[in-house]
Amino acid sequence: MSTTTVAHHDEHADHPTGIMRWLTTTNHKDIGTMYLTFALIMFLVGGSMILAIRAELFQPGLQLMNPDFFNQLIGVHALVMIFAALMPAATGFANWMIPLQIGAPDMALPRLNNWGFWLLPPAAILLTLPFTLALFGIGDGALATGWTFYPPLSVQGGIGVDFAIFSVHLLGISSVLGSINVIVTIFNMRAPGMTLMKMPMFVWGWLITAFLLIATIPVLAGAVTMLLTDRHFGTHFFDAAGGGDPILFQHLFWFFGHPEVYILLLPVWGFIPQILQTFSRKPMYGYKAQVYSFWGIGALSVIVWAHHFFTAGLPVPALLYFMYSTMAISLPLAVLFFCWIKTMWKGSMSFETPMLFTVGWVILFGIGGLTGLVLADVAADAQYHNSYFIVAHFHYTLFAGGIMGIMAGVYYWLPKMTGHMYNEKLGKTHFWLTAISFNLTFIPQFFLGLAGMPRRIPDYALQFAEFNMISTVSAFVLGLSQLLFVYIVITCVRGGKKASDQVWEGAQGLEWTLPSPPPYHSFTEQPVIK
C-alpha cells in the first residue's frame, strides 16, 4: 500500500466537520480519541474529588466539609475512576489499537461503537448531577454509601443512590456493547494468516476482558435493579424483615466486582510485554504461557469473589475455599511476572518514558500483587479488612497497575496516533514525579491500616495524624503532576517533531507498518501475516 493511495482515499472520505463529525462518527480512531479524552477529563474530575478528601484528612478534626459530603466524595471518586476513567481509557485503546494490530480497516460494528461512547457522558452527568442539585436544595447530594452500594445503607440513602443506579445501568450497557464489538471484530476481521495464537498480547487481553464483562455486568445490573425495587417498590431482597438478606447483595456485587479488577488490568497486561519487547529489542518471552495465564486468571477471577467480605460471617468451609482459591491466582500471575522479567533479561534496554512507566509498573504492581496474597489469609484479613491497608493495596493495583499502565500505553502509542513525538524530557519528569509521590502517598497508608485506622472516616484519632499528613502532602504532588501529563499530551497533539512510521527502534507489530498518524480508514488493503 503506497502513501499516495492513502492520501487519495482520505480526500474522498466524506464525513461531516465540526461537532457533527464527533456526534455521528463511526470511525474507530475518532471514537477511540473521544473515549481517551473523556477518560482523561474524568480522571481529573475523580482526582479533584480525592484531593478534597485528602485535604480534609490533612489534620484531625473537621475543617472543610461535613461527614455526609465526605461520604459522597469517596463513593463517587471510586465510581468515576473505575467506570469513567479506567474503563473508558481501556476501551479507547481497544478502539484505536485492535483494528491496527489485527490488520482491519475499522471495528466490526461501527454504529454500535458510536452509541457505546455516547452513553458515557449522560452516565457521568447522572453520577455527578446530585452534587449540583443539592446546591439548589433538591435532594441531599450524591450517593453516600461508598462505591459498593451496600444495603441497608443504600436503601436508606437519598436520590443520589437512584442517580448512581441509573448511571451504572448506562455504563454497563456501554461496556457490554463495547465488548460485543471487540469480540466480533477479533473473531471476524483478523488479517489473513493472523491465527488466534499470533495475535498481539493486547488483543488477547481485551478478548478476555470482553468475555468477563459480558459475564459479569448483567449480574451487577441485576443487583442494582433489585436495590432499586427494594428502595421504591416494596421488595425485600436485602431486608431481613421481609425474608431477604443484606449479604446477598455483597455476593452479587462482588461476583461482578472481583472480575472487574481483571477487566481493568487485562488490557494493561497486554501493553506491558509489547512495550518491554520494544525497548528490550528482543521478542517477548513466553507468548503462549502468557496467553494461557490470561485464560487462567480470567477463569479464576469469577470464582473467588467472597474474599471481599471475609468478615461478614461466612461458614468455615466457604472461608477456606475462598482463601485457597484466591491464593491460587498467584500461580498464573507469577508466570506473567516471570515472562515480563525474562523479556527484559539480556535485552538491549533503553529507557524512554513508556519503558520507565512499564518497569515502574512491574515493580509497583508487584507490591499490589504480593499484598493481595497476604490479604487472602482469612485470619489476618480480619485486621486488614476495611482498614487503610486495603486502601493502599488496591491503589497499588488500580493506580499503579491500572493508571500507570495506561500512561505507559499513552506514551508508547501517542506518536503513532498524532504523528508527533512528545517531549521526552517532560515525559521522564512526569514519570519520576508520579512514581515517587505515588509511593509517598500510599506507603504511609499501609502503616495507618496496620495501626488500626478504618477507611471511609472523615476524622481520626490523634495517633494517625503524622502518616495522614505525609499522605496528603504527597497526594497533592501526585495530583498536580498529572497536570504536566495533560500539558505533554496537548502539546504532542498540536505539534512537535515528526514521528516516523516505525517510531521506536524495536517496535514490532502491524500498527507500526502504517504511517504516523495512520490514514482515516486504517488498512484499506489487508496485510498478510506469514
Binding site: P60, G61, L62, Q63, P67, D68, N71, G139, A144, T145, Y150, P152, L153, Q156, A240, A241, D245, P246, S280, K282, P283, T311, G313, L319, L320, M323, M327, A334, I341, M344, W345, K346, G347, S348, M349, V359, I363, G366, I367, L370, L373, V374, V378, A379, A380, A382, Q383, N386, S387, F447, L450, A451, G452, P454, R456, P458, D459, A461, L462, E466
Partner: protein
C-alpha cells in the same frame, strides 16, 4: 523571585516534615495483641509479610541487575531467548510451580487453616455470652448469662463537638472515648453475638484481632479472651452513614474481682432506675434529665439546638410531632405522635424502646416539648411510657 519563594516554601515544608518524622510516635505494625486470636493473627501476618517482602526483594534485585547490566547505552547487544529442550522446559515449569504451591498452600496455607478454625470456634470453653448491637451511631451491650444477666446499656461517643470543630484542644483519646465502656473480666473466653438495628456495622478492636459484621436481622458470632487488664479502643469499621467515624468501641478489661464489683454496682444502679420509674416526677426534673438524654442520643442528628439537618434529619423546634398532643382521649398514644416516633421509630429514626428506659423516654419527650424553642407545657410521666409499651 518566584523560584526562590517556591524553594523557601519547599524547604520549610521539608524541614517541618523532617522534624515531624523525628518526633512522631510511629507504629509500623499491628498494635500489641492482647487476645490469643490477635497474637495468632500477628504471627501469621508477620510470617506472610516476611515471605512477601523476601520474594519482592529477590525479584527486584534480578530486575535491577538487568536494568543496569543489559543497557543499550552500555553497548549491550540483546541475546535472543533460545527454546529449551522439552525436558528442561518441563523441569523449569514444574520446579517453580512446586515452590509456589509449597509457599501458597503449605507454608502459608496450613497456619492460615488453623487460624480460621480457631477464629470461628466461638463456643468451646466460652464462659459467658454478650450481645453487641450496632445502631446509627452507637453500640449497645447486653450481658446474656451469669451474674451479669440482664445488664444492658448504650455506649456513646463522649468526645465533645467543640474538639471536632477545632474550637477546643483535642483530648488524648479524641474520637476513641465513650460514656459507658464495655467491661469484661480478664482471662475469660467471651462469646459475642453480633447484630444491628438499622444498617451494617462492624465491631472492631485492633488489639483483639477479631472483627465481625453486624447485620440487621441476623446474629453473627465472634469471641474475645482478653489476657491483659487495660482499656482497649477501636471503632466501627463498616461505612454506616454520616456518623460512621463517631462510633468508637471501648473495652475495659479488669480482674475477675473488679468485674464482680462492677456487676454488683451496675445491678444496684438499674434497681434504682426502676424505682424512679414508679414515682411521679416534676416537670423541672424531667426537663433536666431529658436534656442529658437528648444531648447524648438525639443531638447527633437533630442537633443540640433542635434545628436538625433537613431534609434528612428534620427540625424538632416547632415541628408537628413535638407540638401536637401525643395521647388521645382514651389515654393511649396516637399513631404518628411524639410517643410513637420515639418508641417505634420510622425510616431513619431508630426505635428507642429497646434502648432507653421508661424514665429516659419520658424525660426526653418532656424535654423536647418544653425546650429547644418549644413550649407545649405538658409532661409525660415514666408510668405513661410503661403503659405505652404494653
Amino acid at each position: 523571585m518566584l523560584m526562590q519563594g517556591l524553594k523557601k516554601i519547599g524547604l520549610g515544608l521539608l524541614l517541618a516534615m523532617v522534624t515531624m518524622v523525628a518526633y512522631a510516635d510511629y507504629s509500623w505494625n499491628f498494635p500489641e495483641p492482647v487476645t490469643p486470636m490477635a497474637l495468632d493473627t500477628l504471627h501469621v501476618h508477620n510470617k506472610f509479610m516476611l515471605i512477601a517482602i523476601a520474594i519482592f526483594f529477590a525479584v527486584l534485585a534480578i530486575m535491577v541487575y538487568s536494568i543496569f547490566a543489559h543497557r543499550k547505552s552500555k553497548g549491550f547487544k540483546s541475546v535472543a531467548d533460545k527454546a529449551p529442550s522439552t525436558a528442561m522446559e518441563i523441569f523449569w515449569t514444574l520446579v517453580p510451580f512446586a515452590i509456589l504451591l509449597l509457599i501458597d498452600f503449605v507454608i502459608m496455607g496450613i497456619p492460615a487453616y488453623h487460624s480460621v478454625i480457631m477464629m470461628e470456634d466461638t463456643r468451646n470453653k466460652s464462659e459467658m455470652v454478650i450481645k453487641v448491637t450496632g445502631s446509627q451511631w452507637r453500640w449497645q451491650y447486653e450481658y446474656m448469662d451469669g451474674d451479669a444477666q440482664g445488664i444492658k446499656f448504650v455506649s456513646n461517643l463522649s468526645t465533645n463537638d467543640k474538639q471536632m470543630h477545632n474550637e477546643e484542644e483535642k483530648g488524648e483519646n479524641y474520637l476513641l472515648e465513650v460514656d459507658n465502656p464495655l467491661v469484661l473480666p480478664v482471662g475469660v473466653k467471651v462469646r459475642i453475638l453480633m447484630t444491628a438495628t438499622d444498617v451494617l456495622h462492624n465491631w472492631w478492636v485492633p488489639q483483639f484481632g477479631s472483627s465481625r459484621l453486624a447485620v440487621p436481622g441476623f446474629i453473627r458470632e465472634t469471641w474475645v479472651q482478653v489476657d491483659k487488664p487495660g482499656v482497649y479502643r477501636g471503632q466501627c469499621k463498616e461505612l454506616c452513614g454520616k456518623g460512621h467515624g463517631y462510633m468508637p468501641v471501648v473495652v475495659n478489661a479488669v480482674s475477675k474481682e473488679e468485674y464482680q464489683a462492677w456487676v454488683a454496682a451496675k445491678k444496684e444502679e438499674s434497681a434504682k432506675a426502676n424505682a424512679g420509674a414508679d414515682k411521679e416526677w416534676t416537670k423541672e426534673d424531667l426537663v433536666a434529665e431529658g436534656k442529658k438524654v437528648y444531648e447524648k442520643n438525639c443531638a447527633v442528628c437533630h442537633q443540640v439546638s433542635g434545628a436538625g439537618l433537613p431534609p434528612a434529619f428534620p427540625a424538632l423546634t416547632g415541628s408537628k410531632i413535638t407540638t401536637t398532643p401525643t395521647f388521645g382521649a382514651d389515654g393511649k398514644y396516637l399513631p404518628d405522635s411524639h410517643m410513637d416516633r420515639v418508641l417505634n421509630g420510622v425510616r431513619m429514626m431508630p426505635a428507642w424502646k429497646a434502648v432507653l428506659s421508661d424514665t429516659e423516654i419520658a424525660a426526653v419527650i418532656t424535654y423536647e416539648r418544653n425546650a429547644l424553642g418549644n413550649n407545649v407545657g405538658d409532661v409525660v410521666q415514666p408510668s405513661q411510657v410503661k403503659a405505652a409499651r404494653q
